[in-house]
Symmetry: D3
């Protein structure tokens, strides 16, 4: 929650996410595996481009208040070319729709974005589920 050891936290989280995703997909549960495949497919370019889809994923994650999902989509948005002003406009939509309860997540999102921009935190891997 503090920003002090954020870089380590992000790295540890990234490894944890990769490891657990593999663990989950190794399980013999077809519904779960198909859901993960569908999640990946959702953000591919179609009638809407990847940038717009990732912005929608970001705003949805913010109003539902899931920090891991927010970090993930902030990184994906940056990969898709969303600049800082655009990111803050997405934040503003989430803040107004979702209310002040979104503010703690906004703070962590901005901190994460700062670290991405300063290079402390590496780029996101290819889409790998939430």
């Amino acid at each position: 929650m503090s920003g002090g050891d954020e870089a380590d936290r992000v790295r540890a989280f990234s490894e944890f996410r990769q490891r657990m995703n593999q663990r989950i997909l190794a399980e013999d549960n077809q519904v779960v595996r198909r859901f993960f495949a569908l999640d990946t497919q959702t953000y591919r370019a179609g009638a809407l481009d990847v940038k717009t889809k990732e912005l929608m994923g970001l705003v949805a994650s913010m109003v539902l208040r899931c920090d891991d999902c927010i970090s993930y989509h902030v990184a994906q948005c940056r990969e898709a070319g969303v600049n800082r002003d655009e990111m803050f406009e997405a934040f503003s939509v989430a803040l107004v729709v979702g209310g002040s309860i979104v503010i703690p997540h906004l703070r962590r999102a901005v901190d994460f974005l700062d670290r991405l921009e300063s290079g402390v935190v590496g780029a996101a891997p290819a889409h790998d589920h939430g």
Copy 2:
């Protein structure tokens, strides 16, 4: 909830929304009035265009499962040039992020979109709060 008298329902709702918005804004509560002004300002073109912002508002409304907000943003999206395929891609993001609990709202959103496209339901008024 049924589709049978949907057109009347939409008209009645539209009148109700206008009337109550006026009633609320006539009240001497500055926080509420400022919130309504801020809500309008949020969807104006800036670093992101109106179309992208309305799509974000639509997806946020769907994952938070508010029918009135969804209808409103579906109409606004159409005004901003979102076509049917794009609308369904926005629906698909909301469905995958928010889960099957979104499905009843998706059905009503598609019904509302069908009526907008067939001209049964008129265009949305200028942005007037949720």
Copy 3:
């Protein structure tokens, strides 16, 4: 959802609520019955007075976006002496904490309050569960 037949809707809802509460309490499920008893107990005067507790119940209902609960607590607040300006301040807290997604519920809450004040809708019964 429209305001047109609101008075009938409120009366029908009130009868439905009474009838179903009796039906539920007649059932042989001790957990459900105890929960209903606990719900009633929660809003009794204690360290905080009834007015403050009903205002808290109102704001909680608004940010969780449950129209039936909102109507119920608006009526209870009025019984407890909450005036219109105070009611709107409670609305403003709910709006800022919960965001624009609360607006459709705010409209219906204000419409319900208008009807209570004009005498179209009768006073609330003693606390009877949500």
Copy 4:
């Protein structure tokens, strides 16, 4: 919301759901179609039987407070052999986990269950998405 014209409401809703599901599946959006297929697959017997899965779907729908989903799973539970006492125990879990905000949905669930048991409302169709 009132119980008076509930039977008509249920019939109209059932027709609306069927019609809109067909409309949605006719659309050329693979993510949405795959999600609907996955939703159906989720409740098939596997390591857990259909009855247990439908009870889980019911409780999930109640704590997320979606009336259409609740009605759907109440009907499916009955088809799977859940009796009235068992149904109320599922209700009690949802009520305690989700709180008094669930009560309005509980009232409508019990009313729907009463109608199912009295034969006023017909059995549910095979699983067809939320």
Copy 5:
């Protein structure tokens, strides 16, 4: 959030939960104490067995996205004889109902289950409130 020091985290959390529950129950607030008693009563065998009730508690916790509640019910489910395949079917219901926003919680649930199965984390105590 990372899996690295999860065992310590679980132990520390378990002690914290016990200590705070005692602290809360020592307080002179009858509503809170009665709620805790009711919570315990909810999961006792009745028309439905403990296993089914704990599975419903698990799915409710997942769609409401509360990690502490999920860990608690995963442990209780295991005590009640839920095997790994059954656990994943419960996860799949929660994932499909609640959407991709559930995925981060699913990862932590699977990590916790892995540790329970490997014996790193001890069995759950008797039901003690959330």
Copy 6:
């Protein structure tokens, strides 16, 4: 999540909040800045006093289950003169409205309150957004 290093965690969080709020307000996004100003304005004395407004903010934060917001409003409530019995009555309203899913947040709220009362954690700063 454990209580062991809670004092450090609170201090680190407090510094993080201050720093990120400044960072966010320095950004050239008028909607976000206006929202923050509106959030501050919301809790000022008006028709209702500060104590009642902070109690409403506390209950709203608990039913929406945001730990940072809960800690913030617990501290603000204490500054506004809310005593321990009153605080627990606010907790009881949140618990009954929001259900057992609120319990983990209640535990952390009580731990935070204990530390405030023992002087381990300092008083809250003037209202500064969530």
